[in-house]
């Protein structure tokens, strides 16, 4: 089974435990602070959405139904690099949610030790047990509710695991604390914005840049990016990619699997490489799983062989998750922290060559502007289509007796958010129209004399 599927299973078990017990929520909040700052829960909705997305009907649950099942799945799955970091982080959070794992020496502890073993020296279960102890060590756990305190905890965990010989070169292979991005909201709380950054000397600047090109991602993401197909250049320097991501690429029909149409632009300045993406023109369309997906990956060369890596992502799915829920889903999937995989799994560990970064100097060429009236028409149509789709879905749910007051409120909120966003965009279109009208028209050249 997929490694990410099992990780989602661990985070899901934690989520259910936190939802059921405020004390667990507080404890998990030491590692994943969103649980302490909100009443977020996401896993049951994520399971429900995954079942809706499935292209094949099945009674098989899309994710492991218990912590034990998820850990046992990982026990037989090799891991390295950034995926080992995520595995350690998930198990550290599980130790807070299920404290008996650390204390009682029971079945959970054995499963967790076996789940850690594949990423440790000699793949030893004994070392797994030792690292489990380090992850739950009360002396190391953050004492304050700050990002710095959590970063210090993570650094100390890696130092101790390294000094005891369980992990080799963690600074090179494991990297910074996972799920550490700053989270904020947009679109009335329906779009999550996640920003993270770290400084590393694990790889040289040029090598790190060579893995930014999306064609590298399926090979660098440990199975999350199933497809990243270059559909060609759609305007100068902008490439359209068809993206398919899944919690289990090999069994994508039954897993959480979505696709998106993305445009990429690559920019290069001295000591700076930028890969930016946003939804391809015309998207989202009715039925798209992803309504907002844009951001950038930046590698900045610092002095002394260090590079600063910054990732940002704005995301909203076609399912009414809150910002906090979206952030936790991104954490479980690793969807918003791709560059960590590129640096710590691919560039640092694999001998594979990347692709020469295709960035160019930034240009001041504004993308081809569709006639405002055409664009307005398209937007209005998309808006109407969206409302029609929402109404259709609501009607089906009403007929099935599953349309609740909460769902109605979510739908209405989504419609208003969309209306507000579109209307706001229309204003910009109007301004662009006026600007275009005010621009000097190109002079017609006189016809050649005969």
């Amino acid at each position: 089974m997929g490694e990410i599927r099992d990780l989602v299973g661990i985070f899901g078990a934690i989520d259910r435990a936190a939802a059921a017990d405020p004390n667990v929520r507080q404890a998990v909040g030491r590692i994943i602070p969103l649980y302490r700052r909100s009443d977020v829960r996401w896993f049951d909705d994520f399971v429900a959405w995954t079942k809706e997305l499935r292209t094949e009907q099945s009674d098989t649950p899309p994710f492991p139904e218990s912590l034990d099942v998820a850990l046992n799945g990982l026990a037989g799955t090799p891991t390295k690099g950034r995926m080992m970091a995520r595995r350690m982080f998930a198990i550290a959070a599980a130790l807070q949610a299920f404290p008996d794992v650390a204390d009682s020496g029971g079945q959970w502890k054995d499963s967790a030790a076996r789940a850690l073993a594949p990423g440790l020296v000699e793949q030893s279960e004994d070392r797994g047990r030792a690292v489990l102890g380090i992850l739950g060590d009360e002396d190391l756990l953050p004492k304050e509710d700050t990002p710095e305190a959590r970063d210090t905890w993570w650094d100390k965990v890696l130092q101790k695991a390294s000094s005891e010989g369980h992990i080799e070169n963690p600074e090179l292979t494991i990297g910074p604390r996972p799920c550490a991005g700053r989270v904020s909201g947009a679109d009335c709380g329906l779009t999550a914005t996640i920003e993270s950054g770290f400084t590393t000397s694990s790889v040289k600047f040029d090598r790190a840049c060579s893995f930014l090109h999306p064609t590298n991602w399926p090979a660098c993401s440990n199975g999350f990016w199933c497809e990243m197909d270059d559909c060609g250049e759609v305007r100068p320097g902008v490439h359209h990619f068809h993206e398919v991501v899944s919690t289990d690429c090999k069994n994508s029909a039954l897993a959480w699997t979505i696709s998106a149409e993305l445009d990429f632009k690559f920019t290069q300045l001295p000591d700076l490489a930028i890969a930016e993406y946003q939804l391809h023109e015309g998207h989202p369309k009715p039925g798209d799983a992803v309504l907002v997906d844009e951001g950038s990956l930046v590698v900045h060369k610092l002095g002394g062989g260090e590079s600063r890596v910054i990732t940002t992502k704005r995301v909203r799915f076609n399912y009414p998750f809150s910002v906090e829920a979206l952030a936790l889903i991104m954490c479980a999937l690793g969807y918003a922290s791709l560059v960590e995989d590129l640096v710590f799994t691919c560039a640092a560990l694999k001998r594979k060559k990347g692709v020469e970064f295709p960035g160019t100097e930034p240009t001041r060429i504004v993308p081809p502007v569709k006639h405002p009236a055409d664009e307005l028409g398209d937007r209005l149509k998309a808006c109407v289509d969206h409302y029609a789709e929402t109404a259709r879905a609501a009607s089906e749910k009403t007929a099935a007796g599953t349309y609740t007051a909460d769902a109605l409120a979510q739908d209405v909120a989504q419609m208003w958010v969309r209306a507000a966003r579109e209307l706001s965009d229309f204003v910009q279109l109007g301004a662009r129209n006026a600007q275009a009208a005010g621009a000097r028209a190109p002079r017609r050249r006189p016809a050649p004399r005969r």
């Binding site: 993308p367 209307l423 229309f426 129209n433």
Partner: protein, 166 residues
């Protein structure tokens, strides 16, 4: 210096002017056809539909402007203010300013110079470090790049700058 209010008034003026022009063109088009001999019912229905579409669009646009007004006047909350990584001026103690009218991302979206600030705009003697700050509320995510001019008595230069809008 433009403010949100002056921008708002200007965009109202632009919008009403734009809409008036489109109504004028539409009316002229329909009028010219009505005066022709052969103007039939199906054409009248078609023109009526076009009129309804334009009216709907006008309603949308005016409502949009009202929404923008509300957002400008009543909701200066949750601003998306972002700061860059630190940059170094080649000239210590220089006066700093954004070079050009905007910073731009790869897709051509811009941060107008009016919402970008250099901090500090005047370096103290011997100092070189500065940041770029932008109020990116409502702007698309991306990494915006541009140049900052550095000026001291007798010398000037440029620094490439960039700022990430999450």
């Amino acid at each position: 210096m433009p403010t949100p209010f002056t921008d708002l008034l200007q965009s109202y003026a632009d919008l009403t002017s734009s809409l008036a022009e489109r109504w004028r063109a539409h009316s002229a088009n329909v009028a010219s056809k009505v005066q022709r001999p052969g103007y039939k019912l199906d054409q009248a229905v078609s023109d009526l539909a076009a009129t309804a579409a334009l009216a709907t669009e006008t309603g949308y646009l005016l409502a949009a402007q009202a929404f923008e007004a509300v957002s400008v006047v009543a909701a200066p909350l949750e601003r998306n203010v972002v700061f860059s990584e630190p940059f170094q001026s080649p000239l210590p103690g220089a006066t700093l300013a954004v070079d050009g009218q905007h910073l731009i991302n790869g897709f051509g979206d811009t941060l107008p110079a009016s919402i970008v600030a250099i901090q500090p705009p005047q370096l103290k003697a011997g100092e070189t470090e500065f940041f770029v700050r932008a109020d990116a509320t409502g702007r698309r995510a991306g990494t915006y790049v541009g140049k900052v001019t550095t000026v001291t008595p007798g010398a000037s230069g440029h620094v490439d700058v960039w700022i990430v809008v999450p």
